[in-house]
């Protein structure tokens, strides 16, 4: 409820002195502090200076448009509640004023009780709005703090464990039995997966609360694709998978963030390497038409069952099956889709079990205006 320890300030802008007087009396009686003026520009000046909680504005004044006052005050003073006073039968302009930011309207003629009721409702609305804003900010702050907390408190121990493992290998590596060394290597791998999981989760949280920084610049996809292929070439080589690409040199530029797109491509090609057996092929090609640029990544791997396809973009979802030994966070595709959405793009997938999978990334074309 509204507490009246400090009287709330109410401004009334109306060219009719009798209305100003009437309103002042009615509202002061209820304990409000009332300021009145019959001049529009003067009203704006007072509003900026005194920052009243609520203002009544007459829409029809001789040398000043009430509508303009509404527009100006809405922009200048986000917290103010504006109520328009209208002549009878001018509901249309009242509606227009409300579209411009007024909260309510009071048709003339009105009684002191009506005036007080509208005032009370307006102030309650203001109070609720302030409260809601505060809660929203509080929630955002908590989310941010939580991300900060996780990024420090979860990463630190992981990093330290990794450092210990590194140290173990260095100071005792030569003395260790092969089996023991292997166990250490396995620990290292598992810790690395956990670390990846934390990183992926952090990225997603940042995208969700808007703190993931993304540049928007004109980019040649060719360069990013080539970089990503270069990054994955050694891995494909080791796994005896052919990685071939056919990237058009005249592919138009897109608007986007280089770093995150590089991660999307590396993610998707990386997935293909995980689920494609030795002897298989991964191909990366591109295409474009008047509206879109397409990047197609096809593999001859295990494929994804039809009934599982709809879920693969869900956070933490992983298809269970023969490839259990392939580790992952289940967040790679979730991240990729979010990044594509941030680029006004799309990510589509088709797959046939036992034959392979195709991911198509669609980017809108950028036209110089």
């Amino acid at each position: 409820m509204i507490e009246k320890n400090d009287a709330e300030h109410i401004l009334i802008i109306d060219d009719e002195e009798s209305i100003l007087d009437g309103c002042r009396q009615a509202l002061e009686k209820s304990g409000y502090s009332v300021i009145t003026t019959s001049d529009g520009p003067d009203g704006i000046r007072i509003a900026r200076e005194k920052k009243p909680e609520l203002a009544f504005v007459d829409l029809k004044m001789p040398n000043c448009s009430g509508m303009d006052i509404i527009e100006l005050l809405t922009k200048d003073l986000p917290g103010i509640v504006l109520i328009v006073i209208t002549g009878y039968a001018s509901i249309v302009s009242a509606v227009e004023a409300m579209k411009k930011g007024a909260y309510d309207y009071l048709p003339k003629p009105f009684t002191p009780d009506q005036l007080r009721a509208v005032t009370k409702r307006g102030l309650e609305h203001r109070f609720l709005k302030i409260e809601a804003d505060r809660l929203r900010e509080e929630k955002e702050r908590m989310e941010k703090n939580f991300i900060t907390f996780v990024s420090h408190e979860m990463r630190s121990p992981l990093v330290t464990i990794q450092q210990y493992i590194e140290t173990l290998k260095v100071i005792a590596g030569d003395d260790l039995k092969k089996e023991v060394f292997e166990i250490i290597e396995r620990c290292d791998k598992r810790i690395q997966s956990l670390q990846d999981l934390v990183e992926h989760w952090l990225d997603l949280s940042r995208i969700e609360n808007g703190t993931f920084s993304q540049a928007k610049e004109s980019l040649a996809l060719v360069n990013i694709l080539e970089k990503s292929i270069e990054e994955l070439n050694p891995l494909c080589h080791r796994r005896e998978i052919r990685l071939i690409s056919d990237i058009q040199k005249d592919l138009p530029n897109i608007m986007g963030d280089q770093e995150s797109l590089l991660r999307v491509f590396t993610n998707i090609i990386g997935n293909a390497t995980k689920y494609t057996p030795a002897g298989g092929t991964i191909s990366v090609d591109t295409d474009f038409d008047d509206y879109y640029i397409y990047v197609k990544i096809t593999d001859t791997g295990s494929g994804i069952p039809q009934d599982k396809l709809p879920f693969i973009f869900e956070p933490f979802y992983r298809v269970k099956g023969k490839d259990e030994r392939q580790r992952g966070s289940g967040l790679g595709l979730t991240f990729s889709r979010k990044i594509m959405e941030a680029h006004d793009g799309k990510i589509e997938v088709t797959s046939k079990e036992g034959e392979g999978t195709t991911f198509i990334l669609k980017f809108p074309r950028l036209y110089e205006l």
Partner: protein, 129 residues
Amino acid sequence: MDSKKKILLIDDDKDFLMATKLILEKGGYEVFLAEDGHSGVETAKSVNPDLAIIDMMMETWSEGFNVVSQLRTSESGKEIPLIMLSAVDLQGPYQSFEPPENLPTVDMVLHKPIKADDLIKYVGQLLEK
């Protein structure tokens, strides 16, 4: 062979200190440890290290920078190579923090965890100069 070169390691994570100390000792260095910025600066004064490695995030996210500033203005730390360690990519929430004014310069920034080979290699390179 002259006596061992001295390296000062400042980090508020005791385990990280231990792990890194062992790698540096294996590399033939004498290692001194400090668990917070203040004692790091004090230790520098008493042992006159040949190189110092400082974690960026200690009590506060930028404590490492304060330590670097203090070392850079002290007799014992003025001339020596400094390596800053960081575990965070300066993304997301950290972006919104104001970086300290007049960011002091270090000779190298390394990301945790550090490969033993890299650590020995870089420390060697910096000490040669």
